[in-house]
C-alpha cells in the first residue's frame, strides 16, 4: 500500500536470499501441494501493488526508522484493527513526515504492527485528542482474527 523504502527493499531481499537452500528443497514439492515456504512478506495485488503482511513485521521492525509507541490502553484497540488516536499516542519518532510508513510498538517495545503516520510529528502535538494520528495497516492481532487469510 505504500512503496517500500530503499532500506526495506534491501532488507527484504536479504532475507529472501537466506531461503535459497530451503527453496531448493521445496522445489521437490509440487506447486499445488506447497502451502508455504519461509515467511510470507506480503502479496502482490492484481494491479501489481505490493501489500505488506503483518508476517513481515519481525523482519522490518528492527530496521524501522520511524516508530510510534502507543499507550497500553490503546493497544487493544489497535490490535482490533482500529486507527490510533491522539489520546492513545505515547511517543513518536522525531521528524516523522506525514504519510510516512511507521512501525507501531507497545510501551514495552513489542512491535504491534505497521501503520502510516496521518500527521507529522509537529502536527501531532497540535491536534485534538480524538484525531487520528496513525492509520492502521497491519497488526499482530490479525494472527488470530484473520488466520484464514494469512497465507
Amino acid at each position: 500500500m505504500r512503496p517500500l523504502t530503499e532500506e526495506e527493499t534491501r532488507v527484504m531481499f536479504e532475507k529472501i536470499a537466506k531461503y535459497e537452500k530451503i527453496m531448493k528443497l521445496a522445489a521437490n514439492i509440487s506447486g499445488d501441494k506447497l502451502v508455504s515456504l519461509g515467511t510470507c512478506f506480503g502479496k502482490f495485488t492484481k494491479t501489481h501493488k505490493f501489500r505488506l503482511h503483518v508476517t513481515a513485521l519481525d523482519y522490518l521492525a528492527p530496521y524501522a526508522k520511524y516508530k510510534v509507541w502507543i499507550k497500553p490502553g490503546a493497544e487493544q484497540s489497535f490490535l482490533y484493527g482500529n486507527h490510533v488516536l491522539k489520546s492513545g499516542l505515547g511517543r513518536i519518532t522525531e521528524n516523522t513526515s506525514q504519510y510516512q510508513g511507521v512501525v507501531v510498538y507497545s510501551m514495552a517495545d513489542i512491535p504491534l504492527g505497521f501503520g502510516v503516520a496521518a500527521k507529522s510529528t509537529q502536527d501531532c502535538r497540535k491536534v485534538d485528542p480524538m484525531a487520528i494520528v496513525v492509520f492502521h495497516q497491519a497488526d499482530i492481532g490479525e494472527y488470530v482474527r484473520h488466520e484464514e487469510t494469512l497465507t
Binding site: 506447497l34 512491535p111 504491534l112 494472527y143 497465507t151
Partner: protein, 824 residues
C-alpha cells in the same frame, strides 16, 4: 493361627477383622507395662503406678488403683474417670466429694493403694492426671465401657459420649458380622438396622465400610431397571462398593456370585456413570487395574491444566513469565523436565490473546506434546520431516530447538488445519520451514532422506474425550482397526523417509495421544487421550518386524514403560524403552512415545526369497535382523549385512570378477599373515561376494564358476548365511561406511584365521576355505565350524539352518566349539 501379639501393628483395611478384632495386644496391654507406656506420655512415677494399677484393675479389682492419684488431685471434681476395666468398686464412691480429706491421708494412702473413697478420687485423678492415658485406655474396647456403664458412675459428658461411641462400634461390629453371613437379596440402599446408622452418627465418614450393608449384587432384574432410570448417586456408590469388594474378593464376595458377574456389573455402572460406550470401557478395563481405572476415568472428566511453551526464538521464559504475571496470569514453571514450559493456573486475561501471544512469545501447547520433540532432539542444520504437523506446536518447538537453522518440512493432510500451521509458524517467527499438504503415506516418494522424522499419528478423535464427549460412545472396534491400519502405513512411510546413514540422525519418533495399544489418537490439546495399549505397541511391533529399525531409549526419564506383553499378545522386548503417559498419573494428556533408530536403508524383503536355495535362509533373515539387534550385537553387523546385500544385488557382474580375484588372492596367499591383510582388505569387495554366494545360487551369472564353490561354501557359511542373507535382502545401497564396520570386527578374528588357514589349506577345499576368512567375522567364525564338517554336511546343514531360532544360537556355540577344536 493365633492372633498376632504385636501391639504396634495396626490393623488396616476395610474388612471385618480390622474393625472387630483388636488382637491380643488389647489384653496384653493390661499386663505389660511397656505396651501402654509407648503410647502414653512420659508419666511421673505416680502416674505410672496409676497406669499399672489400671491395667491390672480387672484382675485385682479396685485395690490396685489410685491411692497415689489422690494426692495430686485434691481439689478436683468428684467425677470419676472412665478409666480402665474393672474399677467397679471405687467408682461408686466417686460421687462423694472427698477432696478435702485428700491431702491429709494422701501420704498414707499412697502406700495403701486401697480405699474406695480414694479409689473414687483416684479414678478421677486418673482422669485428669493422665488423660492421655485415658485415650489409650479407652481403646481397650467395649468391655470396660459397658462395665462402666453398668456401674453408673458419674462421668463427664464427653466421657459418656465416648463410651457410647465405643459401645456402638462394638455393636456395629457384631452386627456387621451378622449381616455378612446372611444371604440377603436386599437392595444395597436398604441399610438395615441400628448398627450401621449408629456408627454413622458417631464416626461420620470414617468408617465408611461399616455403615454399608454388605454389597449385594443386584439380581438381573434390577440391572434393567437401572438402564431405564439410572440414579447416579446409587450407581456411584455401587461402583465404589464393587471396587472395594473386588479388591478383597475372597473376603467380601457374596456367596454364589462369580467375579465376572461383579465385573460385568461394574462395567455397566461405569458406563452409566461416566457415559462411556461398552467397547471403549471394555478396552480400558483390560488396560488398567481397577483402582487405576476409576482414577483414570475421573481424570478424563476434567481437562488438564493449560500449559504453554516459551518461544525461545523471541524471548526467555523468565521474561515471559514476568510479563504474563504483570498482566494478571497465575503461572508456574512446568517441571524440572522442561526448560520452556509454563503451566497456567488461572488468568484474568484470555491467555490466547495477550499481546505477548500475538507477538509470538509463546505457544499454547499441551505438556505431553512437548515430549516427543524432546525425545527427537533435533539438531541444528538438520533436515527434519514432521508428517502430521497441525496445528504446528511440535514443528515450532523443533524449529526453536534448531534455532531456525536447517530445514523442516511440515506436512499435514488436512488443508483446513494447515492454515493454523501457517499462522502459528509466522507468528512465532519460524523461518526454516516448508509447509506442504500431502498425504503422509506419499512421503518417501515426494522427498526423502531426512535426518529425523517426527510422526504424531492421527487418531480417530478419541483422544479428545473432554472436548468431544461423543467420542466415548461412538468408537468401536472398526474405527480402531481402521486407525491402526493407517498408522501402520504412516509409520512405514516415515521409516522409509529417514536416512539411516545420516551423520547426526537416523531417528524417528512415533507418538500418539492414545494410550490404547490398538489406537493411537492424535493429541490436540486439553484432552483425555486414549490409552489403547494394543495398538500403540502393536503398531510399533509391526514396524520392528517390517523394517530395519530398532527401538532406542527416548531420553525421557519419567513415564511408564510400554508393554512388552498384553493379554495374549507378546511384543518385542525392546518395547520397554517406549513410554506411556497417563492423565491420572502424570497430569498430562495420555501419550505414547516410541523412538526408533534406523540402521539400514534397505527394506527387508518379505519372505518370498530371492533365490531358490536361499529361500530358507532368506526366511531366516527377518527374524535374524531383530534378533541380531536384540542380541546387542553392534548395528555394524546389520549395517554390514545390509550393505553387502545391497552390493550383492547391484553388483552381480563385478562380483563375479572380484570373486575370481579373491580366489586368486587366496590361492596365492597360503601364508597366514599375508592372507590376513589381504583378507581384510578384500573383505569389502569380497564381502558382498561371499554373501552373494548363497545368493549367487539365484544369480545365473556366477553359476558356471561359482556354483561349485558356492555349494562347497554353503556349508561353511552356515551361520554366516544369516549375515549373507541379511545382505542379500537389503536393497542396494552400498555405502562404504559400513564396510569398515564389518572389517573391524573381522579383524579381531583375523588372528584366528591364519590358524584356520592351515587346516583348510590342508584340505581339498583350500581355495574356498581361504576365502572364508575374507568373509566378515561372522563368516570367519563359521568357517571354523565349516572346516570340520565340510562336504558331507552341506545337505544336512542347510535344512538345519532353515529353522530360525536354532541357527542363531548355534552360530555362536558352534563357532566357539569349533574354534577350540581347531586351535587346540
Amino acid at each position: 493361627m493365633g492372633r498376632k501379639l504385636d501391639p504396634t501393628k495396626e490393623k488396616r483395611g476395610p474388612g471385618r477383622k480390622a474393625r472387630k478384632q483388636k488382637g491380643a495386644e488389647t489384653e496384653l496391654v493390661r499386663f505389660l507395662p511397656a505396651v501402654s507406656d509407648e503410647n502414653s506420655k512420659r508419666l511421673s512415677s505416680r502416674a505410672r503406678k496409676r497406669a499399672a494399677k489400671r491395667r491390672l484393675g480387672s484382675v485385682e479389682a479396685p485395690k490396685t488403683n489410685k491411692s497415689p492419684e489422690a494426692k495430686p488431685l485434691p481439689g478436683k471434681l468428684p467425677k470419676g474417670a472412665v478409666q480402665t476395666a474393672g474399677k467397679k468398686g471405687p467408682q461408686s464412691l466417686f460421687n462423694a466429694p472427698r477432696g478435702k480429706k485428700r491431702p491429709a491421708p494422701g501420704s498414707d494412702e499412697e502406700e495403701e493403694e486401697e480405699d474406695s473413697e480414694e479409689d473414687g478420687m483416684v479414678n478421677h485423678g486418673d482422669l485428669w492426671g493422665s488423660e492421655d492415658d485415658a485415650d489409650t485406655v479407652d481403646d481397650y474396647g467395649a468391655d470396660s465401657n459397658s462395665e462402666d456403664e453398668e456401674e453408673g458412675e458419674a462421668l463427664l459428658p464427653i466421657e459418656r459420649a465416648a463410651r457410647k461411641q465405643k459401645a456402638r462400634e462394638a455393636a456395629a461390629g457384631i452386627q456387621w458380622s451378622e449381616e455378612e453371613t446372611e444371604d440377603e437379596e436386599e437392595e444395597k440402599e436398604v441399610t438395615p438396622e441400628s448398627g450401621p446408622p449408629k456408627v454413622e452418627e458417631a464416626d461420620g465418614g470414617l468408617q465408611i465400610n461399616v455403615d454399608e450393608e454388605p454389597f449385594v449384587l443386584p439380581p438381573a432384574g434390577e440391572m434393567e431397571q437401572d438402564a431405564q432410570a439410572p440414579d447416579l448417586q446409587r450407581v456411584h456408590k455401587r461402583i465404589q462398593d464393587i471396587v472395594g469388594i473386588l479388591r478383597d474378593f475372597g473376603a467380601q464376595r457374596e456367596e454364589g456370585r462369580s467375579r465376572s458377574e461383579y465385573l460385568n456389573r461394574l462395567k455397566k455402572d461405569l458406563a452409566i456413570y461416566y457415559s462411556y460406550g461398552d467397547f471403549l470401557l471394555g478396552k480400558l478395563m483390560d488396560l488398567f487395574p481397577l483402582s487405576e481405572l476409576v482414577e483414570f476415568l475421573e481424570a478424563n472428566e476434567v481437562p488438564r491444566p493449560v500449559t504453554l511453551r516459551t518461544n525461545t526464538l523471541k524471548t526467555r521464559r523468565r521474561d515471559l513469565a514476568q510479563a504474563l504475571i504483570n498482566r494478571g496470569v497465575n503461572l508456574d514453571p512446568l517441571g524440572k523436565w522442561s526448560k520452556t514450559g509454563l503451566v497456567v493456573y488461572d488468568s484474568s486475561v484470555p491467555i490466547g490473546a495477550t499481546p505477548e501471544y500475538l507477538a509470538g512469545h509463546y505457544m499454547l501447547q499441551g505438556a505431553s506434546s512437548m515430549l516427543p520433540v524432546m525425545a527427537l532432539a533435533p539438531q541444528e542444520h538438520e533436515r527434519i520431516l514432521d508428517m502430521c504437523c497441525a496445528p504446528g506446536g511440535k514443528t515450532s518447538y523443533m524449529a526453536q530447538l534448531m534455532k531456525n537453522t536447517g530445514v523442516i518440512l511440515a506436512n499435514d493432510a488436512n488443508a483446513e488445519r494447515l492454515k493454523s500451521v501457517v499462522g502459528n509458524l509466522h507468528r512465532l517467527g519460524v523461518t526454516n520451514t516448508i509447509i506442504s499438504h500431502y498425504d503422509g503415506r506419499q512421503f518417501p516418494k515426494v522427498v526423502g532422506g531426512f535426518d529425523r522424522v517426527l510422526l504424531d499419528a492421527p487418531c480417530s478423535g478419541t483422544g479428545v474425550i473432554s472436548k468431544d464427549p461423543a467420542v466415548k460412545t461412538n468408537k468401536d472396534e472398526k474405527d480402531i482397526l481402521r486407525c491402526a491400519h493407517l498408522q501402520k502405513e504412516l509409520l512405514l512411510s516415515a521409516i522409509d523417509s529417514v536416512n539411516a546413514t545420516s551423520k547426526t540422525g537416523g531417528y524417528l519418533v512415533y507418538c500418539t495421544c492414545s494410550i490404547t495399544l490398538q489406537l493411537c489418537f492424535f493429541l490436540r490439546s486439553l484432552s483425555s487421550p486414549h490409552i489403547q495399549v494394543e495398538e500403540n505397541e502393536w503398531v510399533v511391533d509391526y514396524a520392528l518386524k517390517k523394517r530395519n529399525v530398532r527401538l532406542v531409549p527416548t531420553g525421557l526419564d519419567f513415564g511408564q514403560e510400554g508393554f512388552t506383553r498384553f493379554r495374549e499378545r507378546r511384543f518385542h522386548p525392546s518395547l520397554r524403552s517406549t513410554r506411556r503417559f497417563y492423565p491420572h498419573t502424570h497430569n498430562m494428556d495420555g501419550f505414547f512415545i516410541a523412538k526408533f533408530k534406523k540402521f539400514s536403508n534397505s527394506i527387508p524383503q518379505s519372505q518370498t526369497g530371492n533365490s531358490e536355495t536361499a529361500t530358507p535362509t532368506n526366511v531366516d533373515l527377518p527374524q535374524v535382523i531383530p534378533k541380531s539387534e536384540n542380541s546387542s550385537q553392534p548395528a555394524k553387523k546389520a549395517k554390514g549385512a545390509a550393505k553387502t546385500k545391497q552390493q550383492l544385488q547391484k553388483q552381480q557382474h563385478p562380483k563375479k570378477a572380484s570373486f575370481q580375484k579373491l580366489n586368486g588372492i587366496s590361492k596365492g596367499a597360503d601364508s597366514e599373515l599375508s592372507t590376513v591383510p589381504s583378507v581384510t582388505k578384500t573383505q569389502a569387495s569380497s564381502s558382498f561376494q561371499d554373501s552373494s554366494q548363497p545368493a549367487g545360487k539365484a544369480e545365473g551369472i556366477r553359476e558356471p564358476k561359482v556354483t561349485g564353490k558356492l555349494k562347497q561354501r554353503s556349508p561353511k557359511l552356515q551361520s554366516s548365511k544369516k549375515v549373507a542373507f541379511l545382505r542379500q535382502n537389503a536393497p542396494p545401497k552400498g555405502t562404504d561406511t559400513q564396510t569398515p564396520a564389518v572389517l573391524s570386527p573381522s579383524k579381531t578374528q583375523a588372528t584366528l584365521k591364519p590358524k584356520d588357514h592351515h587346516q583348510p589349506l590342508g584340505r581339498a577345499k583350500g581355495v574356498e576355505k581361504q576365502q572364508l576368512p575374507e568373509q566378515p567375522f561372522e563368516k570367519a567364525a563359521f568357517q571354523k565350524q565349516n572346516d570340520t564338517p565340510k562336504g558331507p554336511q552341506p545337505p544336512t546343514v542347510s535344512p538345519i539352518r532353515s529353522s530360525r531360532p536354532p541357527p542363531a544360537k548355534r552360530k555362536k556355540s558352534q563357532s566357539r566349539g569349533n574354534s577350540q577344536l581347531l586351535l587346540s
